[in-house]
Assembly symmetry: C2
Homo-oligomer: 176 residues x 2
DNA sequence: CGATTTATGTCAACAATACTGACCTAACTG
DNA sequence: CAGTTAGGTCAGTATTGTTGACATAAATCG
């Protein structure tokens, strides 16, 4: 970053870097960094694929959760994503119009629209998945199986109970 | 099939839940879920504090990284956040106007604006931090120290090299 | 059966963040 | 001095989220 220009000049001390009250503080702030960078870089790889198709992250999320929960209802999806139905409608309509997602009326309750991925949708989801998988698999290999277990434990504990239940459930959709 | 309100009705099989080609696929998709939910729920707790102040997540991020890197330059911050300077300017101007962030010209290069948190800014950062710390500390306790190590290892491996270097460096800002 | 609730959808407006492109100044550098 | 660099700013646009107000068909309740 510093080409040459700065010969030396003391690093300057303006203020202590975010004062830490106890030992744990340091690793807590580190964890904030970790979450930020890991999430950012993990999501970014898929963005490149989406860009060509004129889709965004919101579409990816819908695609992902429909893929993992075939036959999920609109409200099931809303509960997972925790966004308003108007926000979801926008992306969902696009996905349906472009043939990535299919809808079928529920037979038990015909008001419901059961969502599934079409062949085309599955293909796209796989493409998106592959882009992230490469990075993730490498990370898993680098960190080792033991670390992966720890990673999962911490991540599970960070999320809300609703999300944890969703994860634990075989992926039966519903709540979140 | 007409007035059926049969509360049983088979769970229906529309399609297999996102076909998995190999064993690893399953845990890879799980990891996607983990990242999504953990990041969402982790960031959300701070949003509540920000809301009262009319600030958003972008302000939080700037505040956080300035706090961790006192005296960071605008371009240093840009490199970390990876957004455009126009985007950063908007939040930074607000933070400066409202007295959360102070600017000082670099003495080595007087074009630079070295950013630091004011007292007020530090106070806010601490408040925001506290909200997330509670959740995170609980998660760390629940998962155990061994898991925390694994968590860190995986997160580090997921992020880009630039971010990893930033993390590893004592927080010397610069690249990312 | 009629009344109500539920699942879903739609229109419209607005807010937060991001982006691009263009252009400007002051200060450093060769 | 000429050129690059650090930073700023104006203007327009896109994505994704929000609220609020209604509309409709199907389920459910009394």
């Amino acid at each position: 970053m510093l080409k040459t220009r700065s010969r030396s000049a003391p690093p300057m001390k303006l203020a202590p870097p975010t004062p830490e009250v106890d030992v744990g503080d340091r690793e807590m702030r580190l964890a904030q960094d970790l979450l930020f960078f890991a999430y950012r870089d993990f999501t970014t790889v898929a963005d490149k694929v989406l860009e060509d198709l004129g889709l965004g992250r919101a579409h990816h999320r819908a695609l992902h959760f429909i893929g993992r929960n075939p036959g999920i209802t609109v409200s099931g999806l809303l509960a997972i994503l925790r966004i308003t139905k108007q926000s979801l409608a926008r992306v969902l309509n696009t996905l349906v119009d472009e043939g990535f997602v299919a809808q079928a009326p529920g037979y038990e309750d015909r008001r419901q629209r059961l969502l599934t991925l079409t062949e085309k949708g599955q293909a796209l989801e796989r493409r998106l998945f592959a882009s992230q998988q490469a990075k993730l698999a490498a990370a898993y290999r680098a960190a080792g199986p033991q670390a992966v277990q720890g990673f999962r434990a911490v991540m599970r504990a960070v999320m809300d109970k609703g999300a944890r239940d969703y994860i634990d459930g075989t992926g039966a959709a519903e709540d979140a």
